[in-house]
């Protein structure tokens, strides 16, 4: 059985259709990039897989759990234990420093543990920026905190929505290399949304979306 199974997902925002019956499967440990023009429903698809949004109809299975049938609190539980999100805007809490931002994710998962949070930041190469607040850090550093935060609860699924959208080429490369390292060493399943062809070259599989449905689905040949 595949790690992620989508069956005929439809998502409507009022009269507008964001997704028009998407079905697909993703294997455990795969790195999938979702591409497409803006408004093609790629972010919506990502959010539905991550349990951040619910489909209007259709079924979503992650690790055998039918997450579209979960109650709100169970869905929150699913998010904190199975997923890690990275967003385009880093969405760090402005009044918390780097370590505390990571600890916040731990807190909602179970309990805050400073030592572990420091470890997570070290993993993304930020051991020299522990006590800095987001406003004192560069965009690339902020995104790296986000990755540390997303990984600290040991998720099975890493979801990234345009993680490099606000970064220059150099930082983009740095983030992607970090992801690649984590992917090859720790075998996370990664789903990454991007419209940048450079970014889409990383990973193992590219989904092209257009107007709420999948146009093409092809493996990347290195």
């Amino acid at each position: 059985m595949s790690f992620i199974i989508l069956k005929n997902i439809v998502k409507e925002y009022g009269p507008a259709h964001a997704l028009r019956g998407v079905s697909m499967e993703i294997q455990k440990g795969q790195w999938v990039n979702i591409m497409g023009p803006s408004g093609s429903g790629k972010s919506t698809l990502l959010n539905i897989i991550g349990g951040l949004d619910t489909p209007t109809s259709g079924e979503v299975f992650v690790e055998g759990i039918k997450i579209n049938a979960l109650s709100e609190d169970d869905l929150a539980c699913f998010r904190r234990e199975k997923t890690g999100f990275v967003f385009q805007q880093s969405h760090l809490v402005p009044y918390l420093d780097a370590v505390e931002n990571v600890m916040l994710a731990q807190y909602f998962h179970s309990m805050a543990d400073e030592e572990e949070a420091v470890g997570a930041l070290t993993r993304v190469g930020l051991e020299h920026r522990l006590k800095h607040r987001p406003s004192q850090l560069s965009g690339g550093e902020q995104q790296r905190i986000c990755i540390a935060r997303a990984l600290t609860n040991d998720p099975v699924l890493l979801l990234a929505d345009e993680p490099t959208g606000n970064l220059d080429r150099e930082n983009t490369k740095m983030i992607l290399e970090l992801l690649k390292k984590l992917h090859s060493e720790e075998h996370f399943t990664i789903i990454l949304v991007t419209h940048d062809p450079f970014v889409s070259q990383w990973g193992e599989r590219v989904l092209m979306m257009e107007d709420g449905s999948i146009k093409s689905d092809a493996p990347i040949n290195p």
Binding site: S110, E116, D154
Partner: protein, 474 residues
């Protein structure tokens, strides 16, 4: 229909409330921890207790039986208190053995491990403790009921009243349980907390002596106070022997603080609170075990689970502490501070002998209360006290001791209390010389009179160091 007997109603209500509360907590505990196989031994224990209580109906009704019942109740309280401590000790030594943490929503392992005994053995233990818990209290209550029916002369009415009390509680309990199914409270308890809870129910719900004593608190308080006083007293006796004529009254005032009821009360309170505080310490401070898991996050999750469980189970303990403090201080206001101060009855020395009738129409010196007399001789006033000891012998002493200014003594519970320094002296130790004890007098009982030589009184009154303190005569 004859009127209900309120005391009996209260006794029935109290016993039923205790049983109901214990049932509710224990049953919830079993439900939450999936150990419902212990329900049967519990019920059997209740049945056995009931039989024992019924049998106690045939016990002789005298003071010794009552006294013994009170002692057994106190001992069973102590047993549960100490066991809860022991269980806590056991738990804190136990480590988590097999942890099979999995995804969300699944239950995580229990922190405690039941030692590997056969379920049958555990069943017998549950049965035994149920009996130990309920039988003494039930016996005590039944003895009280019997006494009530005797005193009030209304036969079975006291039993009927008690049954009505039971019925009221049962009705409330069934309604609450039926409507709300409050089994969640079981999550607040683990074995040590459960035992502590039982001890607390005993403490607040078991009267050892009279009807007025609804809870064990006064006896425990008395017991602890006596212990504290005796201990301190012995230490000072040891240090101060043979005598202490050179010590100033102010020094004895200072020492008096340690003898006094306030200090003894405080010490005993600390002793009683020791266990609950141990619990709190364990719950909140004890280091967490490091679980071995696939990932750090999972370990953190188990730790958080254990921690929140501990905090949850610390909650009832914290409540106990608050309850004990409130009860203790509100009690110590009303019962500990009240002192019986009889007025001295004037008597005369006839040919060198003071004669006091053992019994006359207005008084009986053997009634267990404190009796004070004053005698005037050669222009001076002397006071003496008579009191019956627990072994039914009489004690005669001056209304003064060697150390304090002769303000005299009052009676409080089982102690005579020095008015000046507040030292409580167990009645049974009267007749012994030294320390803050009233100076004993030699006496004889002849022809219905207590006879005391006036020269003995005058001579011993001279031992008092009366003149540096205020020599206030009553």
């Amino acid at each position: 229909m004859p009127p209900l007997i309120h005391e009996a109603l209260l006794i029935g209500f109290k016993e039923a409330a205790k049983a109901g509360l214990v049932w509710l907590v224990f049953y919830s505990y079993l439900v939450v921890n999936d150990r419902k196989n212990f329900v049967k031994p519990f019920y059997m224990g209740l049945l056995v207790s009931f039989l024992i209580v019924f049998m106690s109906q045939f016990l002789p009704s005298d003071i010794v039986t009552k006294e013994n019942a009170g002692n057994i109740i106190s001992m069973s309280f102590a047993l549960f208190l100490i066991m809860s401590g022991a269980a806590l000790f056991h738990v804190s030594g136990t480590n988590m053995l097999s942890i099979s943490a999995s995804g969300y929503g699944s239950t995580l392992p229990e922190e405690t491990q039941v030692p590997s005994l056969k379920p049958a053995a555990w069943g017998i233990i549950v049965l035994l403790f149920t009996v130990i818990f309920f039988a003494p209290d039930g016996m005590g209550s039944l003895l009280q009921l019997r006494e009530l029916s005797y005193i009030k002369g209304r036969g079975s009415m006291s039993y009927i009243s008690a049954l009505i009390g039971v019925a009221v509680v049962a009705a409330v309990l069934f309604t609450v349980v039926g409507l709300y199914k409050p089994y969640k409270i079981g999550g607040f308890f683990d074995v040590p907390q459960l035992l502590l809870f039982l001890a607390m129910v005993k403490l607040f719900g078991s009267g050892a002596k009279e009807f007025a004593e609804l809870s064990l608190l006064p006896s425990v308080q008395r017991g602890f106070m006596k212990f504290a006083h005796d201990f301190v007293h012995q230490v000072f006796l040891f240090l101060m022997v043979p005598d202490h004529p050179l010590l100033k009254a102010t020094f004895w005032n200072f020492i008096g603080i340690f003898f006094g009821p306030d200090f003894a009360s405080l010490v005993s309170l600390i002793i009683l609170l020791l266990f609950p505080f141990m619990f709190l310490y364990h719950s909140l401070r004890e280091t967490l075990p490091e679980p071995e898991t696939r990932s750090v996050a999972e370990g953190r999750k188990i730790k958080a689970f254990i921690l929140s469980g501990r905090r949850k189970r610390a909650l009832p303990v914290a409540c106990f502490i608050v309850l004990i403090l409130i009860a203790w201080f509100s009690r110590s206001e009303e019962t500990i501070m009240q002192m019986y101060l009889p007025k001295p009855i004037p008597v005369v020395a006839d040919r060198g002998v003071v004669m006091i009738p053992v019994r006359d129409p207005t008084m009986n010196v053997m009634d267990g209360s404190l009796h004070k007399f004053s005698v005037s001789y050669e222009g001076r006033q002397y006071r003496l006290i008579l009191i019956k000891k627990w072994d039914n012998t009489l004690a005669a002493a001056l209304d003064a001791c060697e150390m304090c200014p002769p303000e005299g003594y009052g009676l409080r519970d089982d102690h005579v209390v020095c008015i000046y320094c507040g030292t409580p002296i167990p009645v049974n130790t009267l007749g012994l010389p030294g320390g803050c004890n009233p100076i004993p007098l030699a006496f004889t009982i002849e022809g219905g009179f207590v006879k005391i030589e006036i020269h003995d009184i005058v001579k011993k009154w001279g031992f008092i160091k009366p003149l540096q303190g205020k020599e206030s005569m009553h």
